[in-house]
Symmetry: C2
Subunit: 314 residues, 2 copies
């Protein structure tokens, strides 16, 4: 059985898995370490995870990294890895482990590969995975293949401008979609409502100070039946739908898979997005509704996709 290892580098942790490529949804082994700062420390951590996974002879390795990864497997920049710039991570890890080639791609692109090959989008040849976490990552599958773009940088809708008067983004621009539709966006939206005197139940749950309101307080209160929390989630889901509609207008995908930490609350989010998406798409009513489904691989998706990438199953 061909085994494949993959490691997903996050802003706070690195998660490695070993899978059987014929059954990518089943994780055979896993290991995680905290993400340290700087190229050398990241490489050291990756080598540690790879060794802990116990790579046998013939086991391939691939890496998913949160940032712009070019066609030569070089990480050009990643907003959540500020001290790692123009880093040939794949080559450094391959060299340290004595492996021939360690392919690298964007972490959300890896997650898209995993979900469309063995997860919620299985069987779909033209789909988009959108990972709603602290920021927004995405991967586009077109004709069964990852769409990389000419330089390897395709699939960053999180930084499309959706509001010229919106808040500043860590990327240096204003009004990026991820300021509104990520986990951070939900927290910001809730604090705005709280500071305007709404969301009393949520503010109470947060200890009384509107500044301390977080997204989790909203989802908990909504589950407990708080009406205003449901309204915040309606607005949050509208922002998610805005960006998805932009993607549908541009790419016309078969299916959209939503992943990332926010989708831990899939029961509160997905139906609200579906209810608002159609009305934001050009020609709705005269074209099929695009199915929007929750990812099924959870936090493993990026590492599983990296393993598929390493095994050249991309």
């Amino acid at each position: 059985v061909p085994l494949a290892a993959g490691i997903d580098v996050g802003g706070t942790k690195m998660l490695g898995v070993v899978i059987d490529t014929e059954s990518p949804g089943d994780v055979l082994r896993q290991h995680r370490v905290a993400t340290a700062r700087g190229t050398d420390a990241v490489v050291t951590g990756l080598v540690e995870v790879a060794r802990a996974l116990g790579l046998d002879e013939g086991t391939t390795l691939g890496l998913g990294i949160p940032g712009l990864v070019d066609d030569n497997d070089v990480l050009r920049m990643g907003p959540n890895l500020p001290d790692v710039v123009d880093a040939p991570i794949g080559r450094l890890v391959a060299s340290a482990l004595g492996l021939g080639h360690v392919p690298v791609d964007n972490d959300a692109t890896c997650a898209a590969l995993a979900e469309f090959r063995g997860g919620a989008g299985i069987g779909v040849d033209d789909g988009i995975l959108v990972a709603l976490g602290t920021g927004i990552g995405a991967g586009i599958i077109s004709g069964g293949r990852i769409m990389h773009g000419v330089h390897g940088f395709a699939g960053e809708p999180g930084h499309m401008l959706v509001d010229p008067n919106g808040p500043m983004c860590p990327c240096g621009r204003r009004g990026c979609w991820e300021r509104f539709a990520s986990g951070s966006g939900l927290g910001r939206l809730a604090r705005e409502w709280a500071e305007a005197g709404r969301l009393g139940a949520v503010v109470a749950a947060a200890g009384g100070d509107p500044d301390d309101v977080k997204g989790e307080h909203v989802t908990e209160a909504a589950r407990a039946g708080d009406r205003e929390s449901g309204e915040v989630l309606d607005r949050f889901a509208w922002w998610i739908a805005v960006g998805l509609a932009n993607l549908v207008n541009i790419l016309d995908p078969h299916t959209i898979v939503l992943g990332g930490g926010v989708i831990g609350a899939a029961d509160l989010i997905v139906d609200r997005v579906v209810a608002q998406l159609d009305g934001l798409v050009l020609g709705s009513g005269r074209r099929p509704t695009v199915p929007v489904v929750a990812a099924s691989m959870g936090e493993h998706a990026g590492a599983v996709g990296a393993a598929l990438l390493g095994a050249h199953l991309d």
Copy 2:
């Protein structure tokens, strides 16, 4: 020599051409008629143009239509053809002319085919044509092929939301990119500035009433050296760059070709767009700048691309 005919249906006129497919930039014959309302009248007009072009035995025909054209060559809807809905235009025209098959695609998609096969984007396999006219159309070429999306509806960035507080769009939604970055968008922006007491030279040229200011007044005044007109064009070009940057973040193309009526003022627009695009793209400075060039086929691009489509050279 294989000849091919193509007809581009616009909101006001239909333009037909005959080309030699080996030299698509050279238009051998052309004919135009006004666009009438309703499916029957549009089909009658298309048949008139085709007959006037004098299709010889073996000459193929293709059509470009401004709207959502599905995989079965049915026009689902077009904002500028309000009385033509769910119309099997290709089949109706083929039947009237006794032709076997008349392929149909979106007009801007046809223009993209023409510009990337024989115009300003020749030799580029991954590019986007954005046609800035009354609205905004677009066509995406990926790996040398038109990107149609799953249902045929890809390539409508004109209706991506870029401002939740923006003006209403004829499509029924608010804040679409084409409200800001089309020819209509330039006129609206200029009237806003004029009503705020700016653009004195432009208002004078328009006869004294800010409500009568049009985009052409601004471009004429800018050419004559009016400083404020240059500033309006800077802002207009920023809006163009916003949408292009969104497309670059999502698709990572090699080259963008700008066409449409607005690009009649390419000398005033393109450099201003180029100057502002890079700063709006994620990771600028760590990735190549995307070349933005003016289309070279002018008003013929859609019809030439329709001819290529008809000859199955898409």
